[in-house]
């Protein structure tokens, strides 16, 4: 409760500053690093990228994306997304550091960057046969160093006054629960297409929770890094780029539905094709959350999840 009050106070200060600041303080361009969630994959039950339905880059008024919300207050607002379906925070050639490098190579640099990655880092790992279901996931140290590799680049390249908003990653065990409640088709499609088998192929709820706990640890580390960059306590942000996150603590901390990482997805918020990605309702909630936790934005987090 004390933490929530502090966040509320910060939000009030930001809002006040936002009212008095000149319009030039608002960004004129955004970019993002992300995966299939940011590509709006399958949000309208068509099995392909549907960027118009994305929480961050979408143009569908039913989603009311971050981009749409900026357009309402900044004429000629531009965007140049870099999210790629299948991307990880750590693995492969489209990871966060690679996407951050692409953002830094854009001919016109953005003043607002959204980051949402991590689901594939969990889902692409093999199931563990040991007592710890999270044994084969990336260590928190690995996760943190991959995150830093991207944040270092953004801190160095973005224009002064820019904001980097790093969203927490959803708990895949919660997505499993939502799909399990949705349809008996969901376990079939998970098996058919090998969808996040580390959790959808795990029949033991306590072992799925172990994976969810690792996600909490990733999100705790993410928030720690965001705060270190924002305050420049790590010496990597001498130019004063603003870093923010939605993460306020875990479900175990009593922070249900205060961030993407603690959102308890229900069956009406995920699509029917793969039963694992947010549908338009889920994307709309995510856009609302991102805007409510964006220094340029407004809104009530609880209202986003009603």
């Amino acid at each position: 409760m004390k933490r929530a009050s502090a966040v509320g106070l910060s939000a009030a200060i930001v809002f006040t500053l936002g009212v008095t600041a000149s319009a030039s303080a608002l960004p004129t361009k955004q970019s993002n690093a992300g995966d299939s969630i940011s590509q709006g994959f399958d949000a309208n039950d068509h099995p392909s990228d549907q960027p118009q339905e994305s929480w961050v880059q979408g143009t569908d008024s039913a989603v009311h994306s971050v981009y749409s919300r900026y357009i309402e207050i900044v004429p000629n607002f531009q965007q140049e997304p870099e999210s790629v379906s299948g991307a990880e925070m750590i693995g492969g050639t489209n990871n966060f550091a690679a996407q951050a490098s692409r953002i830094c190579s854009q001919s016109t640099l953005p003043q607002h960057v959204s980051v949402l990655l991590g689901g594939n880092d969990v889902c692409n790992r093999p199931k563990s046969s040991s007592g710890d279901a999270a044994a084969n996931l990336y260590s928190v140290e690995t996760w943190t160093n991959g995150l830093r590799a991207g944040l270092d680049q953004l801190a160095a390249c973005l224009p002064q006054g820019a904001t980097v908003q790093v969203m927490s990653m959803p708990r895949v065990d919660q997505l499993y629960s939502a799909g399990h409640d949705k349809s008996f088709w969901c376990p079939i499609t998970w098996s058919l297409f090998n969808i996040c088998r580390v959790v959808t192929g795990e029949g033991n709820a306590s072992r799925r929770a172990q994976i969810g706990q690792r996600v909490d640890e990733y999100n705790d580390a993410l928030a720690g890094e965001v705060h270190a960059y924002d305050a420049n306590t790590n010496g990597q942000n001498s130019r004063g780029i603003k870093f923010v996150t939605d993460w306020q603590g875990s479900i175990a901390d009593g922070a249900n539905n205060t961030s993407l990482g603690t959102h308890l997805f229900n069956k009406n918020e995920i699509n029917i094709v793969d039963c694992f990605h947010p549908n338009k309702s889920g994307q709309r909630e995510l856009a609302c959350l991102a805007w409510a936790t964006n220094p340029d934005g407004s809104g009530s987090i609880p209202a986003c999840f009603q």
Partner: protein, 249 residues
């Protein structure tokens, strides 16, 4: 309500036979042998000469290690930020072999001895690659370029290097979805054609150039990427279907 799911018989695509040596320079002349050692080549490709290798400087960073069922280290190539998970015995390029993974660090063997790399630190390396290693290059955003001649040689020496099974299911009518079908890769040899194209065990293929695939079509993929042109494979990454565009030169 109709529901049907079938897991068709596994179709094994044999790795084509050829002797694969692992020794140093067994297929090279003594002059090549000395030159390869001088170049720093630790892991040699059989029946190859010095001109089959190229080198370039880069930095690698050790992100961290994980000690679970599967102990591995995660390394990033700082020139592209491409990462790889390596285990003891794996190689980084042709000049470094992982010889130990410990909490907080790894050891890498080279022809000149062992080097130590700590978590969070960078190491200047001379990346040595055989032309097979660069037969398919991932440019990110699911775009690849493939060198037809080198990939043809990979195909001849290592084959498709994968096994797969057909999977299909008919969703319940209230979903409004059509029948679903996929090809799931069961095993992938990193030396084979599909491994060179970045595929791993568990990956799911759906179509090639708009034609649905079956497990019997792996050879067709391998054949297609050994001839100039453009190939579009649709794959499923954790349910997210997307095209992979391969330009074959």
């Amino acid at each position: 309500m109709k529901l049907h799911i079938s897991l068709a018989a596994t179709i094994l695509v044999a790795v084509t036979g050829c002797s694969v040596g692992s020794g140093s320079g067994e297929d090279s002349s003594s002059a090549d042998d000395a030159a390869l050692t001088n170049m720093g080549v630790l892991v040699r490709e059989p029946a190859s000469t010095v001109k089959d290798y190229q080198t370039g400087p880069t930095k690698i960073r050790l992100y961290g290690v994980q000690n679970g069922d599967d102990t591995f280290a995660t390394i990033a190539d700082r020139s592209t930020w491409k990462t790889m998970s390596v285990r003891v015995g794996d190689t980084i390029g042709r000049g470094y072999r992982v010889s130990a993974i410990r909490p907080g660090s790894i050891d890498l063997d080279t022809v000149k001895g062992t080097v130590h790399l700590a978590v969070g630190h960078d190491l200047d390396v001379k990346m040595i690659q055989h032309r097979f290693d660069t037969s398919a290059v991932d440019h990110g955003k699911h775009t690849w370029t493939v060198t037809a001649a080198s990939m043809a040689d990979v195909h001849t020496r290592y084959g498709v290097g994968a096994t797969a099974e057909d999977r299909s299911a008919t969703p319940p009518s209230d979903t409004g979805l059509p029948p679903q079908a996929a090809v799931a890769l069961l095993t992938v040899d990193p030396k084979g054609v599909l491994g060179r194209l970045g595929f791993h065990d568990g990956d799911v293929l759906l179509s090639m150039n708009d034609t649905p695939l079956t497990a019997a079509d792996l050879e067709k993929i391998a054949d297609r990427v050994t001839h100039p042109g453009t190939v579009t494979l649709v794959v499923s990454d954790q349910g997210a279907r997307h095209p992979v565009t391969i330009t074959v030169r």
